[in-house]
Amino acid sequence: METTPDAIVHLIPDELETPPLTLWQLAWRRFRRHKMAIFGSISLLVLIIYSFGGAFIYTEAYANFTETGIRLQPPSAAHPFGTDTVGRDILARTIYGGQISLLIGLTAMLVQLFIGVLIGAISGYFGGRIDSILMRFTEAVLIIPQIFLLLVMAKFFGSKIPDITVLGRTFSGSVVVIVFIIGITSWPYLARIVRAEFLSLKENEFILAAHSTGTPTFQIIFRHILPNSMAPIIVAATLGVASAITLEAYISFLGLGVRPPTATWGNMLEGAYNYIDTAYWLWLFPGLLITLIVLSINFIGDGLRDALDPRSRAI
């Protein structure tokens, strides 16, 4: 056997170096330690699979199929979650309702993210009069009770938008209305967070340095300051998804949200009101799902808050 006496010389420097952890690797290490956040992530994943995977078992037509002959049946082998007041299968409806609820949560979050970040960033960066005007406007939106505003807007716009067809599926136009009104009533919190971040970040020397290399203002705002304030924005956006789902459930429960036959977890509760003690399955399953998803998302938000906090000393 030949010996390789000079093997050690052949080590490439790369093999001697440990590659440094990136910001996201560090965050992931901290996130992993947060048991509730991991529980939340898994349960959210399960719910997503439930809602979107379940569509392969039940068709939407089946979920919306009315058969008054079998109305208000308790859970059985044929209808595991029972049937509702007009004889629709609740299991199939929670599957399709989950899709809508998740989509409403996500898109409403995007709407509020867009408005909130834009207003917060402009307000915090420019300060002065622009800041005053935008913040007074933000406060004006904030002091109107959100639920009240939601109900009025839902009532006002609810019936004015025709049904829409996306990817071969028809949604009640009210879905778009709900997303829009949740988005435009929820952004003030985000705007304030972003503004606060910008107020302190813009005083940093590296922003002055960016100015001194001739970087235009627009780039300074969105390429230099915004990435620095990502952590609180991500956390707020995550929690925003949960609150959008709750809000949707709330207005749908009051009958002003998404119109049947399109199912959401919220509007499935609507009819359940009169049967609280006689037909528990009407409210139990959608209610459980709402609770579970909101809880999961909040745990994830909590975990993200800890994981993305640059001041966190935990490894």
Binding site: A210, S212, T213, R223, P227, M230
Partner: protein, 328 residues
């Protein structure tokens, strides 16, 4: 040599709740092509504010440039609209900041921060910009530059970051580099390396350097001409040999006297200038150094001395001839 930047009677104030802070009170100087000009003075004497005013980087409000002009190639920088200034900042006049620890954006890679001015000012495409960034990093002495482009600022040491800052400032080959105390945050050996680097850059790239510092030791090894500032005013301006051989303003002599010396005995106390720097809330109406000056005369407390030539390339603003102790 051609003057490439001419500052005339620059005044900058800050409106604060306590009153008006008179940060810069009528400063005039010039810098010629390829020249190294040092601006010295203690903290708060207006060195940095002067430079930031020239580049339009003073926050307005509370800042306000009351008067003056700053001519760069026949264009008054103080009158230029923001968009035109943006084209000059970083392209024609670059700045190197004091604290490399806070002057780099912590969430952007070095590569992105280096290539941004290149794509912005020179219109380089990504590939060309990266190539140039690698060149610059290698030039300022960062080994393995290509790999380091993907690194974040926290993965560099202080000296390395200052090198990155310099690479960033010089990437577009500006004609003037303003270095705002670039070595203060570094330890002495790294200071020496950075100064050496800047000297090499000046020789190879031929840019003018405006070096702001309070370290007279650094000035001696680097500058050709020196401006001594105090309370937002220029008190003495001379070429570097004259200033050290024959300082003529009492403040300059006091500053030089306060330098620690190798031949001091162990228990000797360091000399210092008695008193404190002036309160900038009060607009200077007379010589601002008068309260601390050992040669002070009555006129010093009544009238403001103007900069006057006392030799070739040597100006002071003082009523006294320190060699005789009498009025000039």
């Amino acid at each position: 040599m051609d003057k490439i930047l001419q500052i005339n009677n620059l005044r900058t104030i800050f409106n604060t709740p306590e009153g008006i802070v008179h940060a810069v009170n009528g400063v005039s100087f010039h810098i010629s092509e390829g020249e190294t000009l040092a601006v010295v003075g203690e903290s708060g004497c207006g060195k940095t504010v002067t430079m930031l005013s020239i580049l339009g980087l003073i926050p307005i409000p509370p800042g306000e440039i009351v008067s003056g002009s700053a001519y760069y190639h026949n264009k008054d920088l103080l009158q230029l609209p923001e968009e035109e200034l943006e084209r000059i900042r970083g392209r024609e006049i670059a700045m190197i900041f004091q604290d490399p620890m806070t002057s780099l954006n912590p969430v952007l890679t070095i590569g992105r921060q280096l290539t941004e001015p290149l794509t912005l000012h020179l219109g380089f495409d990504q590939q060309k910009a990266i190539q140039r960034a690698v060149e610059m990093l290698t030039f300022v002495g960062i080994p393995d530059a290509e790999k380091r482009l993907d690194a974040y600022p926290h993965q560099f040491s202080g000296g390395m970051r200052q090198r990155v800052m310099i690479a960033m400032a010089l990437g577009c080959a500006p004609s003037i580099a303003i270095a705002d105390e670039p070595t203060t945050a570094l330890d002495v050996t790294i200071q020496a390396q950075i100064i050496e680097l800047v000297i090499r850059l000046r020789e190879e790239l031929g840019m003018a350097i405006l070096w702001i510092t309070h370290d007279l030791g650094v000035v001696a090894g680097l500058a050709e001409r020196v401006i001594v500032m105090y309370s937002g005013l220029i008190l003495e301006e001379a070429d570097v040999y004259n200033l050290y051989e024959n300082p003529c303003h009492p403040y300059t002599t006091a500053l030089l006297g306060a330098l620690p010396r190798v031949d001091y005995t162990r228990h000797q106390r360091l000399d210092s200038i008695p008193g404190a720097p002036p309160n900038l809330l009060i607009e200077p109406k007379h010589c601002p150094f008068a309260p601390r000056c050992q040669f002070v005369m009555d006129i010093c407390r009544e009238q403001m001395p103007q900069l006057e030539l006392i030799g070739s390339d040597h100006q002071i603003a003082c009523w006294v001839d320190i060699h005789t102790g009498k009025s000039r």
